[in-house]
């Protein structure tokens, strides 16, 4: 069983603000973290490894400091790490990112399953996983709550609009994983981190993975960001303060006015 897990380093989204004058993101003091969905994907993959054996490879694309999320995967139990890092990748949208990751995964070798987070908290697109699956020509199961193995096949419980379904897929297949309820991510201990710095780790450039440069970076990306700006603010609420009884009457009046209740 060979599993590849795709991880991304993201800024802790809740703290990102925009400078109203320049329109640039204020990133100072915003810590970088592993995308929480990827953390869940990683733990699902490592659970399978623990139960059924096999080899887990962690791959990411990003600047050199993105090594941090790859090494986190190694510290948690993955066997090998790969970082796709090259100026040629800079500015890639989800299409180009999927293309590069698919090339990287192809270079890793025979793969039975690919695990991705359902989406990344900085972009929330949920496009990279399916993009990789299409590039590699393998099926996908998106929005998985949990993936397990039964015999030679994978069984996944996936979220659908208004409920869930249980699906079965033959390898090779790509899963995108959401963060399970009450997910308590595991963090590595000091000796695990120390050991992880000695596990096999590779930095691959665009050339290493045989990616064609015209598909990469800003130029290769079919989408372009034309403007970023702060979300529009609504007007302040019309405020009411009074006794609980008065407050209830006030709310009833609003409901009557909107014809949610009769007079």
């Amino acid at each position: 069983m060979n599993i590849v897990v795709c991880v991304k380093q993201v800024p802790d989204s809740t703290e990102v603000k925009i400078n109203p004058e320049t329109g640039h993101l204020i990133r100072a003091g915003v810590p970088s973290i592993i995308n929480p969905y990827d953390h869940a994907a990683l733990e699902n993959a490592l659970k399978l490894k623990k139960a059924y054996g096999g080899r887990v490879t962690v791959i990411s694309m990003g600047p050199p400091q993105a090594r941090s999320v790859v090494q986190l995967g190694l510290a948690l139990g993955a066997d090998e790490g790969v970082l796709l890092s090259d100026m040629a990748f800079a500015g890639s949208d989800t299409w180009s990112t999927s293309y590069a990751l698919a090339k990287g995964i192809a270079k890793i070798g025979k793969t039975d399953a690919i695990f991705c987070g359902m989406q990344a908290i900085d972009g929330d697109t949920a496009q990279t996983g399916p993009g990789i699956a299409q590039q590699l020509g393998i099926p996908q199961v998106t929005f998985c709550e949990h993936v397990d193995i039964e015999g030679k096949n994978f069984i996944a419980r996936r979220h659908i609009d208004g409920g869930h379904e249980i699906v079965e897929a033959r390898p090779p297949v790509l899963f995108t994983v959401l963060v399970p309820r009450e997910f308590r991510p595991r963090w590595p201990s000091f000796p695990e981190i120390h050991g992880s710095s000695k596990k096999p780790y590779h930095v691959w450039t665009a050339e290493d993975i045989g990616a064609e440069k015209h598909y990469l970076g800003l130029k290769g990306s079919p989408t372009q960001v034309s403007r970023i700006y702060p979300p529009p603010q609504r007007d302040k609420a019309e405020m009411f303060t009074g006794s609980p009884h008065e407050a209830a009457e006030h709310i009833l009046a609003i409901m009557r006015k909107g014809q949610f209740i009769g007079d």
Binding site: I18, T94, D124, Q127, T223, G258
Partner: protein
């Protein structure tokens, strides 16, 4: 261009999977004819990777001006209780948004309907704005499947070349659209909350960083310009009774082998009243301030009296006060009821992005500085534990 290399071993696996009968075996080698739409179904099944699509040529070949029309992917949903399927309301939202874009461009609005069997849906689609319905019927379309549906959609796109294509940002749309985009090398913007035309290009606005910023995205060099659009964000225009759409039938062959993922079991959770939270007219929602499961039941009483559905903030779900299907927000469901009553919800950004499109928002919170009051139209400063029982009492008395 699509090419078959010398690696071809003549196994013939690619022949049945082609949806457009574009592959034949000639002298035990695969040969691809002009019916090919570059959908890639054959590439995926070839065991020796003998078939390749050179996208560079494919995109260079593109004459962008020949791509015309605004398309909307029609999502079908099961009618509760096993009564067949119906068009999901979000599709109508997309038709309303698409209609405006099509008018701006002076082009047609088309719906793409992939179904086991059409049930006269072109009438409904027409009333809500579609000029044309590309309809593909096949028994294998009995339920959504990534490989089968993406193959069909890619084929129809390659044949008819739309300029814009919109999908709902539902689970299905978000599963399908990136697959299509990856295959045909076009731009795709996720989760749009506003769409407009500027200089002939589709301007796609979307929130990023958990709703902390907005971004405008363009796809200037590829067609169709594709976007998924958040449900409950676009308003549905009044239907025009009697207006109908022309049906264009698309013949597509689907091989059973394309179904690589099988659904073993499906369960849908419905609220007691049978209304789904994203389609509710009234939502009574609670947050951390409710503190216990018992207190949360007050919301259910109130919601029952109003004929609404109960919602919950992420904090409330994490505390186990309500299950995840009721969660409103970025990581839950986006809603836009006529009335949203927020009780004891402070208003984290991730909650606000999921409910701010509601018509009337009433918020009750002890803290006068709670961010929820920035989006609410009506703010009530007070303790939900004291106000809710009074509200319920009054409504009960009225009912008698």
């Amino acid at each position: 261009m699509i090419e078959v290399s010398k690696k071809c071993i003549g196994c013939g696996k690619c022949v049945p999977v082609c949806p457009f009968a574009a592959v034949q075996m000639v002298d035990r080698l695969a040969v691809i004819n002009e019916a090919c739409t570059l959908c890639g179904a054959c590439v995926q099944v070839c065991p020796v990777k003998a078939i390749t699509i050179n996208r560079e040529e494919a995109s260079a070949r593109r004459d962008l001006s020949s791509y015309k029309g605004v398309w909307v992917y029609v999502e079908l949903m099961d009618v509760p209780g096993g009564h067949g399927k119906k068009v999901r309301p979000v599709t109508l939202e997309l038709l309303s948004a698409g209609r405006r874009l099509a008018d701006e461009l002076g082009q047609e609005l088309c719906a793409v309907l992939i179904a086991e069997k059409n049930h006269g849906w072109e009438k409904e689609l027409g009333e809500y704005g579609a000029d044309k319905v590309y309809l593909s019927e096949h028994p294998e379309f009995f339920e959504y499947n990534t490989d089968i549906f993406s193959t069909a959609v890619i084929g129809i796109i390659n044949r008819h070349k739309p300029s814009v294509m919109l999908y709902p940002a539902s689970i299905q749309g978000r599963d399908l659209a990136p697959r299509v985009a990856a295959s045909i090398y076009v731009g795709l913007t996720a989760d749009c909350t506003a769409l407009a035309i500027r200089d002939g290009l589709l301007v796609q606005s979307r929130p990023a960083f958990g709703g902390n910023i907005m971004a405008d995205i363009l796809s200037p060099t590829s067609r169709p310009q594709m976007a998924t659009v958040r449900p409950n964000v676009m308003k549905i225009d009044e239907p025009r009774p009697g207006r109908t759409a022309i049906v264009v039938r698309e013949e597509i062959k689907i091989d059973k082998g394309l179904r690589r993922v099988k659904v073993l079991e499906r369960k849908l959770a419905h609220d007691k009243a049978g209304t789904r939270i994203d389609e509710a007219r009234v939502i009574v929602s609670g947050g951390r301030g409710l503190k216990t499961k018992e207190k949360f039941r007050l919301l259910e009483d109130l919601s029952a009296l109003l004929g609404g559905v109960v919602g919950a903030s992420r904090a409330a779900v994490d505390m186990g006060l309500k299950d995840k299907t009721h969660q409103v927000g970025q990581s839950g469901t986006t809603v836009s009821p006529k009335l949203y009553l927020a009780c004891g919800i402070s208003g984290a950004v991730q909650h606000i992005v999921g409910m701010k499109a509601s018509d009337i928002i009433v918020a009750v919170n002890k803290d006068p500085n709670a961010p929820i009051f920035n989006v609410a139209g009506h703010g009530v400063v007070g303790d939900v534990h004291e106000i809710l029982p009074k509200l319920i009492d009054s409504l009960k008395k009225k009912g008698k």
